[in-house]
Symmetry: C2
Subunit: 454 residues, 2 copies
């Protein structure tokens, strides 16, 4: 091992302290980094590349169903934010306020968008006049700020994050309702096919629904430390915002009507959930569809056989050009150190090739998820890699589903619920959906929150 090499592995086990393990992991795997602004993180290239994949694939599906992208201002005047009462109550405590520009004090302070309902719907009220202007289906990919006062955790709880915010308007409730499954299906496909994640799809309780919505639907996840996390969500806003922002249209009978609105979002927090769900004590375990590097080729060579082995490794790289491949030909690190690094970075598949392998016209495929190694004929590398990556994805998804369903416990009494919470389980309990009752349960169980109604 060269002098340049230093310890890169994790010092905390996932089982021992999830938060510490996670924080160490995303830092060492170079996904995010702290900055001088407390609670605001850098998305480093490997992390942002994963977000780009989520963005690109979700966007493609949105466009296929007629949703168009737009961009609305970052700043929202205080009076606009205050137009829908429940909404403003939900967001004001976390708003970052711009009060000055240069040396001048602004006449009205401006909110840095925590979400864009208010600034968008003010425009919608100007644009929507007739049934011909409907449906209006817009989306934004942008940054939002919610000033969390709790301890920040990269990706999971930060003061600025990235997301999509879809904001659609329909003439009738029926059409608005129909969109719900379209959007939830899109999110489900992204979760399943790119992040290898299974979530419980359901409706939020009255207490936990979005500020200003009539109903909220979401995918819910359950972390190994017994905490629930909300994934992508969809809100039926009914006519709440339409009334607050005076969005009205003339229907085909020339009668004025309030339309029905929906909003929906997926955020960079999902990257955090994915990392926690699949990661292990060696580092990240990334699903192949989202991994910035899908295959790492590590040639095993010395001064003498270097040229010969690198030549073969390059041939393999070429044969794998349909994948995102890195050939690690660095000379200053040993193969063992490289194995550790690619494992830390969660690269799904590693290909090892040394002098003996070349003699036998084979390579070694090493799976990140199961640690299993397999010899494969040189002529079959591409084919085997494809199959193995598919298997890895399937295995990660099945594990995610199994873990969630194994955590789920049916309870029938407060005693059973308390026991489930104590055992860090996700409990399925009968519930009346009364916010007061939910407060009572929360109090009795020491802070348990409801996730969703199945």
């Amino acid at each position: 091992m060269s002098k340049k090499e230093k310890q890169i592995g994790l010092t905390t086990k996932k089982e021992d302290n999830l938060t510490k393990w996670y924080t160490e992991l995303i830092q060492k795997a170079q996904l995010t980094d702290y900055t001088e602004v407390s609670g605001c993180m850098v998305f480093r290239p490997d992390c942002y590349a994963m977000w780009e994949i989520i963005q690109k694939e979700t966007d493609k599906k949105f466009k296929k169903i007629g949703i168009k992208n737009a961009y609305f201002p970052l700043f929202i005047p205080e009076k606009l934010l205050a137009k829908e009462e429940t909404h403003v109550e939900g967001f004001t405590p976390e708003v970052a306020w711009v009060t000055h520009a240069g040396d001048s004090k602004l006449t009205e302070k401006l909110a840095v968008r925590p979400t864009s309902e208010t600034i968008m719907y003010d425009s919608y009220s100007k644009w929507i006049r007739s049934w011909r202007d409907l449906p209006l289906k817009l989306n934004q990919w942008n940054n939002v700020v919610r000033w969390e006062f709790k301890h920040p955790i990269a990706l999971m709880r930060t003061r600025e994050f990235l997301w999509n915010e879809g904001h659609t308007v329909y003439a009738t409730k029926k059409e608005a309702d129909k969109e719900r499954n379209q959007i939830l299906d899109i999110y489900e496909e992204i979760l399943k096919n790119y992040m290898a994640l299974y979530g419980i799809k359901g409706k939020k309780t009255e207490k936990e629904k979005f500020a200003g919505a009539e109903a909220t639907y979401s995918f819910e996840f359950f972390l190994p430390n017994g905490k629930g996390v909300q994934g992508p969500d969809f809100h039926n806003d009914g006519q709440n915002f339409a009334k607050a922002f005076d969005i009205q249209f003339l229907d085909k009978n020339e009668k004025k009507q309030y339309p029905y609105q929906n909003t929906f979002a997926i955020t960079t927090r999902m990257l955090g959930v994915m990392i926690i769900m699949h990661g292990d004590d060696k580092g990240l375990v990334l699903p192949p569809a989202i991994a910035p590097t899908q295959i790492a080729i590590v040639p095993i060579f010395n001064e003498k056989n270097k040229d010969k082995i690198l030549k073969e490794a390059n041939k393999i790289k070429k044969a794998l050009k349909q994948f995102r491949v890195k050939l690690d030909d660095r000379e200053e690190y040993s193969p063992g150190w490289k194995f550790n690094e690619w494992e830390l970075k969660g690269v799904p598949l590693r290909i090892e090739i040394g002098p003996k392998d070349i003699e036998k016209k084979q390579v070694v495929l090493a799976r990140r998820d199961t640690n299993k190694k397999e010899f494969v004929k040189l002529t079959k590398v591409s084919e085997s890699a494809k199959k193995t990556l598919k298997d890895i994805h399937q295995n990660l998804y099945e594990n995610s589903k199994k873990n969630l369903l194994n955590s789920l416990t049916k309870v029938k009494s407060m005693q059973e619920l308390k026991k489930a919470v104590k055992n860090k389980k996700l409990a399925l309990a009968p519930f009346c959906n009364d916010p007061e009752c939910e407060d009572w349960i929360k109090e009795k169980t020491g802070g348990t929150s409801s996730r969703c109604i199945e």
Copy 2:
């Protein structure tokens, strides 16, 4: 003409009042809209779709030369912004400041990023340790805020805009310099191949270079009202920021060195320049490569022949599926009204099909740029459309080049320069590059600014 129809054309001529014409145009063509926040505009779907094309194509070219995307926080603490003296002087007068979160006053006020050098290079100083960490080539696609106190003009001068900001670090000046042509070539291709724009490529004067840079290169454009506008730019920052932010690396001889940095950007302002350059008194004239709708099919039908004609129109749409096509089958508008609307929106090619055309197995192709109409056999529609779109692009680009070069006047004395400025010409004058001298010229000519040194 139906009762529903109203006047959608422009009321101002481009030649009479460029600003008024432009402001009316982008509003009526539904590209942008005002909001409650003065100086901040909405990018409506057709406008944002054009930005997405610029972004996608530029990004592809960046990635091909090894630039990776990342995302850094929106907020920059005051002390960080102040680290490079010239830089902070250039930006502070226009900074929007966040001073409060919820009800709490922040201990240090935060700048909403006007540009990200300071927040990025603080991270760079942590990440860069050795020659192995170089080059570091990162880019961001994001929103920035510069609080303009002048009258805002949509896309051209707004308080928030969208851009790319590339920030690269090289071990040697030679490598850093080499990147200049790579990046300027990419921008030139985007300007030429997507926006059909010709700009003068050159170096900015000492007075006009970027705050904190050693040298700035840019593409310069010249509006019909005699005003110059800067397009995409590239800055050689030398070691200025490296020294201010203590970015150092150990070279191969284990010696500490300051690296060399570059930055570069293209902004949404270019959409404004493009619209002004190509537009006419009927509305937008969009280059086919960037037009959200490339071809509009307008069928001419009545109650009786409607089905037959729409059937044929749909066949044409299918034959043109390689293009971004809209079939305008609305019944509440007359063909003439539709022609005006698609002209206002700048759709490069219109296809008209009526009963007589069907008899003769032909359609009419109407070019937006030249207003010329041409009959084309039904069997040749796709082939002709492809050729015509290519011709339109070429024609717009040639016009853009001709207009710029025709405005250029060589001058040798202050008297000739004054005359050129009076005649709204772009003057090519000998110049010593002394900022004091530039101030003197500015004063003598009533505010003329230098664009670039060729």
